[in-house]
C-alpha cells in the first residue's frame, strides 16, 4: 500500500522546527539555548530538504500520470477519526464523571455502538470496570480521579 507523502504534514513539521528555533532564540542564557538552537536548526534544514523531496516526488508521479501503487483503503481516515473521537469522548467522561463511571460508560457504549448485544455490552462493561478497578488499587496503588461533578459536590 502506498504510504504518505503529505506536503501538509511536512509543512507542519517544518513549522514546529522553525517555531522551536524562534522560541530558543528568546531564551535568556547561552547554556539554555545553545542545544535547542543547534538541534531545531538542524531539524529545520533536514525538514526543508524533506519537503523539497516530497514536492519533487509528487511532481515526478504527476508527470508519469500518477502513482500506480494502491492508496489507503477508502474511508480509512474517517474510521481513524471515529476511533480517535471515542478516545476523546472517554477523556471527557473521565474529566466529568471520574474514572470508574467513565470506564463503565465507555466499555458499554463502545461495544454497543459496534453492534454487540446489550447484555454482552453491559456485562463486559461491569466486568471490565471491576477488573481495571482491581488493577488500579492493587497493582498501581493510585487514587482515581473522581471527576469534576463529584468534586463540585465535595465528594
Amino acid at each position: 500500500m502506498k504510504k504518505g507523502h503529505s506536503v501538509y504534514f511536512d509543512v507542519l513539521m517544518l513549522f514546529i522546527m522553525a517555531a522551536t528555533f524562534v522560541m530558543a532564540l528568546d531564551l535568556e542564557y547561552f547554556d539554555l539555548k545553545l542545544l535547542p538552537l543547534m538541534v531545531s536548526g538542524a531539524g529545520f534544514i533536514l525538514m526543508a530538504i524533506g519537503l523539497v523531496n516530497t514536492v519533487r516526488t509528487r511532481r515526478k508521479e504527476a508527470a508519469k500520470g500518477g502513482d500506480e501503487r494502491p492508496g489507503p483503503p477508502a474511508g480509512i481516515y474517517f474510521r481513524y477519526l471515529r476511533e480517535g473521537l471515542w478516545m476523546v469522548g472517554f477523556f471527557a467522561a473521565i474529566f466529568l464523571v471520574g474514572f470508574s463511571a467513565a470506564m463503565l460508560i465507555f466499555i458499554t457504549a463502545y461495544l454497543k455502538a459496534n453492534r454487540v448485544a446489550w447484555a454482552v455490552s453491559i456485562a463486559a462493561g461491569i466486568i471490565g470496570t471491576a477488573a481495571l478497578f482491581c488493577v488500579c488499587y492493587y497493582l498501581l496503588e493510585v487514587q482515581l480521579y473522581p471527576g469534576l461533578i463529584l468534586k463540585q459536590f465535595g465528594i
Binding site: K3, G4, H5, S6, F9, D10, M13, I16, M17, T20, M23, A24, L27, E28, Y29, D31, L32, L35, P36, V39, S40, A42, G43, L46, M47, I49, G50, N53, P72, I76, R79, Y80, R82, E83, G84, W86, M87, F90, F91, I94, F95, F99, M103, F106, I107, Y110, L111, N114, A124, G128, T129, L132, V135, C136, L139, L140, V142, Q143, L144, Y145
Partner: protein
C-alpha cells in the same frame, strides 16, 4: 566479572524471579502472536505497572516478554501467514507454504527449536564478548559517550521506513521534546508555555503510551476487521517433534544463521528484521537446491528463526554496554531502566554487572520457556488472532489511560496520551519514525548532559579526539551509505578498467 556472571545466574534461578520470567514469557508469546499490535505496543502497556518497582523483577519480566514474543510471532507467521512482528516476515516465506502442504507442525517445531537454541547461543556469545567490551567502555571519554548517544539516535533514524531524512527529523523531534522543562544541568525551565505540568519535563510513559499503544489501537480498530478469519489449521505434536529434531540435522545452517543474527543484531539500527532476511538470503545462496526456497522447505524456516532470537543477545549487548538501543523494543528496555531509577549508558555493565548478567541469563531462560509454552498453547494462539479489534479497543483504551494517570495522578498525562496518539497516527501515515522519536526523547537528556560535560572536560574541540572522529566518521558514512557504495563501485570499476 566472573563473580558477577555466576551471581547473575544464581539470582536468575530464584523462585520468584523464575515465576516472573515465566509470566513474562507467556505474556510475550500472546503479544507476539497478536499481529498488528506487536511486542513494542505490548511492552508499552506494561510500562506503567513496572514503574518504580524492584528492578530485579521488572527487568527480567521485560526481557522475557521481548524474547518470548519472537516465538509467538513465528507461530502466527507459519500458521496464518501473518507475521506478528517485522522480523517474523522472513519465516512466512517458507513457513506458510509448509502449513498449506500439511506440514505446519513440522515448521513450528523447527522454528521453536531453532529460536530457542539460537537465543541461547546469542546470549552465550554476548557473555563471552563482555570482558572485551568492558575494557573498551572504560577507555571512553565524555566526548565519545556524547557521540555514541548521537550514533544511537542516527542509527535508528537511518533504517527508518520513510527514509533517512524523515527518520532523522523524527529523532530531532524526540530530542526537542527532551528539552521541555528543567534542563539536567540548569535551574531555568524551557518550552513549558506557562504550564506547571511541563515543569517536571515531558513525561516518558504517557508519550510512549500515546505513540505506540494509542496509535496501534486506533489503527487496529480503524481497520474494522479481525486480524485473521477462523481457519482449520492444526499442528500435530508428532510433527512438531520431528521439526525440532531437523534443526540438529542442519547444524551448519543453524550455526551460520546464529552468527549472522548475533552480529547483525549487535549493529545499532539494523536489528532482528535485517538479521532474519540476511540469514534467509545466505541460506538460499549457499544451498545446493536454491529453487526449493519459497515453496515450503524446512531450511527456509530454520535460517531466519535461528538468526531472529540470536539477534536478541547481540542487541541486548549493544544496549547494555554502550546505551545504544538498536530497535524500538530495546529503546523501551532503556526507558525501563530510567523508570526504575537506573541511569542507562555506557557504564551500565560496570556499575550494575550482576543485573546485566541476570538480563542475559533471563533472555536464554525465556527462550527455553517460551518454546515449551508455545508447544502447549499453539491451538489457543490461533484463536486470539481471530479476536475482533473492537474488543481490544474497549479493553485496552481504559488500561492505556489508567497507565498514564498512574504515573503522576494528573489529568495532564491523559492530554499527553491523546496528543501523542493523534501525532503517532499522523507520523505513521506519513512515514515518519515513531521509534526514532522515542529514542531521541529517551536519549535527549543524556545528549545534553554529555554535551556539556564533554565541552567542560575536553574543551571546545572535543569532537577532534580520535575515537570521537571515528564515531563521527561512522555516523557520516552510514548516513551516506548509498553514496559511499556508489563511489566505491566507481573506484573499483575504474581500477578494473585501468
Amino acid at each position: 566479572m566472573l563473580n558477577a556472571l555466576f551471581a547473575g545466574l544464581i539470582d536468575t534461578f530464584e523462585p520468584l524471579r523464575l515465576a516472573v520470567i515465566a509470566f513474562g514469557s507467556i505474556v510475550g508469546i500472546f503479544i507476539g502472536a497478536l499481529p498488528g499490535f506487536g511486542p513494542v505496543a505490548g511492552l508499552t502497556l506494561a510500562l506503567p505497572f513496572l514503574y518504580g518497582k524492584d528492578p530485579q523483577l521488572v527487568l527480567p519480566f521485560a526481557v522475557a516478554l521481548g524474547s518470548a514474543s519472537y516465538a509467538g510471532a513465528s507461530v502466527s507467521s507459519i500458521m496464518l501467514n501473518i507475521p506478528g512482528d517485522a522480523p517474523a516476515a522472513a519465516t512466512c516465506i517458507d513457513g506458510y507454504p509448509m502449513t498449506r502442504k500439511g506440514q505446519g507442525g513440522r515448521a513450528i517445531g523447527a522454528a521453536l527449536s531453532a529460536s530457542t537454541t539460537g537465543g541461547i547461543a546469542g546470549v552465550l556469545m554476548a557473555i563471552i564478548v563482555i570482558p572485551v567490551v568492558v575494557k573498551v567502555v572504560l577507555t571512553l571519554h565524555m566526548s565519545e559517550i556524547f557521540f555514541l548517544v548521537l550514533l544511537g539516535i542516527s542509527s535508528l533514524a537511518m533504517v527508518a521506513q520513510g527514509g533517512k531524512i524523515k527518520g532523522l527529523v523524527s529523532g530531532v523531534l524526540g530530542l526537542l521534546l527532551a528539552f521541555v522543562g528543567f534542563p539536567r544541568m540548569g535551574s531555568i525551565p524551557r518550552f513549558t508555555f506557562g504550564s506547571e505540568y511541563l515543569l517536571a519535563n515531558m513525561p516518558l510513559i504517557p508519550v510512549i503510551l500515546g505513540l505506540f499503544a494509542g496509535t496501534e489501537l486506533v489503527k487496529l480498530a480503524g481497520s474494522g476487521e479481525a486480524i485473521s478469519r477462523p481457519q482449520a489449521v492444526t499442528a500435530p505434536r508428532q510433527q512438531m517433534l520431528q521439526g525440532a529434531g531437523e534443526v540438529f540435522e542442519n547444524f551448519w545452517l543453524w550455526f551460520r544463521s546464529v552468527i549472522i543474527g548475533y552480529i547483525v543484531g549487535a549493529l545499532p539500527g539494523i536489528g532482528a528484521t535485517g538479521a532474519t532476511f540476511i540469514a534467509y538470503g545466505q541460506a538460499k545462496q549457499m544451498s545446493k537446491e536454491p529453487d526449493k526456497y519459497g515453496s515450503g522447505c524446512i531450511e527456509g524456516v530454520i535460517a531466519p528463526e535461528s538468526a531472529n532470537n540470536a539477534s536478541y543477545g547481540g542487541a541486548l549487548l549493544t544496549t547494555l554496554s554502550f546505551g545504544i538501543p538498536g530497535s524500538a523494543g530495546m529503546a523501551l528496555i532503556l526507558a525501563l531502566f530510567i523508570l526504575v531509577g537506573i541511569v542507562p549508558g555506557p557504564r551500565m555493565l560496570i556499575d550494575y554487572p550482576e543485573l546485566c548478567f541476570m538480563m542475559f541469563w533471563t533472555a536464554s531462560i525465556a527462550a527455553v520457556m517460551s518454546s515449551v509454552f508455545c508447544f502447549i498453547v499453539v491451538p489457543y494462539l490461533m484463536k486470539i488472532t481471530t479476536l475482533h479489534p473492537k474488543y481490544l479497543l474497549a479493553a485496552l483504551t481504559p488500561l492505556v489511560f489508567l497507565g498514564a494517570f498512574a504515573v503522576d495522578e494528573s489529568m495532564g498525562s491523559l492530554v499527553v496520551v491523546l496528543v501523542f496518539t493523534v501525532f503517532g497516527v499522523l507520523m505513521d501515515e506519513f512515514d515518519f519514525s515513531r521509534s526514532a522519536l522515542v529514542l531521541g526523547f529517551i536519549l535527549g537528556t543524556f545528549f545534553e548532559k554529555y554535551f556539556w560535560l564533554a565541552l567542560r572536560l575536553d574543551g571546545p574541540l572535543f569532537f577532534l579526539r580520535p575515537i570521537s572522529l571515528v564515531i563521527v566518521a561512522f555516523i557520516v558514512v552510514s548516513l551516506n551509505f548509498n553514496l559511499v557504495k556508489s563511489a566505491a563501485k566507481r573506484l573499483f570499476l575504474k581500477k578494473a578498467g585501468g
